[in-house]
Symmetry: C2
Subunit: 342 residues, 2 copies
Amino acid sequence: MAALNERKKRILQAVVAGYIQTADPVGSRTIARTCRIGLSSATIRNEMADLEEMGYLSQPHTSAGRIPSQKGYRYYVDNLMTPGNLPEEEASAINHSLNINKMREIEQIIINAARVLSYTTSYTSMIMGPQYKKSTFRQMRILPLDEKKGLVVLVTDSGFIKNKVIDLHQSLSPVELQQVVTYLNQKLFGLTIDQVTTSLINELKRDLFRRMEILEQAFILLEESLKEEQQVRVFLGGTTNILNQPEFKNVDKIKRMLALFEQESLLFNILEKNLSAEGVIVQIGSENPVEEIQECTLITAAYKINNKTLGTVGVLGPTRMNYARIIGIVRFLVDKLSDSLS
Amino acid sequence: MAALNERKKRILQAVVAGYIQTADPVGSRTIARTCRIGLSSATIRNEMADLEEMGYLSQPHTSAGRIPSQKGYRYYVDNLMTPGNLPEEEASAINHSLNINKMREIEQIIINAARVLSYTTSYTSMIMGPQYKKSTFRQMRILPLDEKKGLVVLVTDSGFIKNKVIDLHQSLSPVELQQVVTYLNQKLFGLTIDQVTTSLINELKRDLFRRMEILEQAFILLEESLKEEQQVRVFLGGTTNILNQPEFKNVDKIKRMLALFEQESLLFNILEKNLSAEGVIVQIGSENPVEEIQECTLITAAYKINNKTLGTVGVLGPTRMNYARIIGIVRFLVDKLSDSLS
DNA sequence: GTTAGCACTCTAAAGCCATGAGTGCTAACC
DNA sequence: GGTTAGCACTCATGGCTTTAGAGTGCTAAC
């Protein structure tokens, strides 16, 4: 890629900055006036024509100003922009909303995070709930509720708690039940939920059958309670924020966007792709694998619980996005969220 | 209210039916043609003028057909309409989606119900999750997780399970802890969560202090875990469905509507108002106390868990709604949901 | 290499007209 | 008296033209 000279950089920068602010194509005269570049509009016009030829800018129609192309945004993000520091008040708003009550459950913390993230960015936020199956088994209990029912409680190291009401097989006495539970706890301790496969369960089942001759039911519950929880939830915030952007003033686009927000599994896929990457990721327009958001930019970062990467935070806005600001916010929030959840 | 003669009823019925179907104002000629009423358009025009004067119909502008007014819809719902029976396939779709897996948690069942409800109606559905505080305390357990943390599990009669991680005060030995828990279970059994007030808790606290001198922390947990859960969740389905209605083709309305959907507490208030009523309730336009939905109709009904009314199901659509059909669906779903959750 | 000037392009908003659906009224009809 | 045919009138809608304004590209002068 041909490097841009200093002047072209400044002009590209000016176009991006201007377009981010106003959402209107930026003309040469505007640039000449606003940023003290010491050049006439005609000169700037020439440079802009060059930039367009190189693919950094484009024109919606002949007699309009220029807008950054995807390549232009990419160059801006990679070379021209410096991520902003958060203003004091925003930082403390984020801190506040994650720390109200130390006793809060994971889910509540995440819901709050999604809310504050969409609020401060004015875009739509999405946070992937912690990946249950990547966390490790800590213990399992069965509480008898009455003669016919029991409550299974399953605890993992990331503080994930899963419970499920099950039918207790009548032939299982409390003592036997306790034995089964103890055995399972021994065997499963320290494994990730991922590792508790059907084959492992079958193995344990055979092993146990040899010792006592009951408990079909006890296993079904284990399988169920582990397996079914595979779908991780995605929490959204400010789904309507994105509608305030001028690029979404036609009803069809709005519908397509909102329809996307209802497809939790698709959102999950989007976020999950960036789970293992380090730092803040910026995906501009068609860099995004999912078609529905190829007119948008997605900024994501992964959070950790007890040093284990378990989920992803994202902000979705138009490609005409305030990159510097949003990157700063996402970086900050992801750190705080990791602290809060650990 | 002056009673309508037979002919006026038929015409009102025809206008409502026509407008529900097409969303276009209904003209006199259309009625003369479609419903074999044996009258010329001129006669129908006269009758329509009467109906307009009485307030049952209105005209968007002089040269348009008539549309039902709110009063017109109300008359239609009260006197002209007969709620429809569900087609076999819809009924079985509902049945199916509530029964996939008997072991499912309450939340999953409700999410499914919201989904199937919005799908079959093509409107937006909202279901208020079961009211935790109206259900009665069954038992409480504390599971030690490690030296510093414990898990409180609280079970109610409607199958509601609430858990919370707490810090265990170091001075509390396992045996003592067990004693506290046993004592609390005795005292609280059979009370509704509502009845577990702060003053009752304080009383118990004083009582226990006399017997042993520990456990500040144990009480904090109880208070927290009971109190904080007051906000009941509302589950939505098909939030974008309502955008397909022609009355929502302007972006501002869409935004206001969607903003409403993000305010869970407001939705809760809306649904909670109809919690204690019997049967299916139809609220048309401004009959609705909440301003944001005064251009809509809300059809609600309450569901029961073990014969206790604990939540409400609702369908939100334009006032131009297929009342007969939707009322039938809501009635059916609420019955099935009550069965499923009991 | 830079800039002033000018003709040209193209969108968005405003105004205009034709169309057609539907009405209200009147006079004739049964 | 109720019903109907006929007709003039109203008004939203969509297509068309016009205008204004912003911005460009090019050329010629600096």
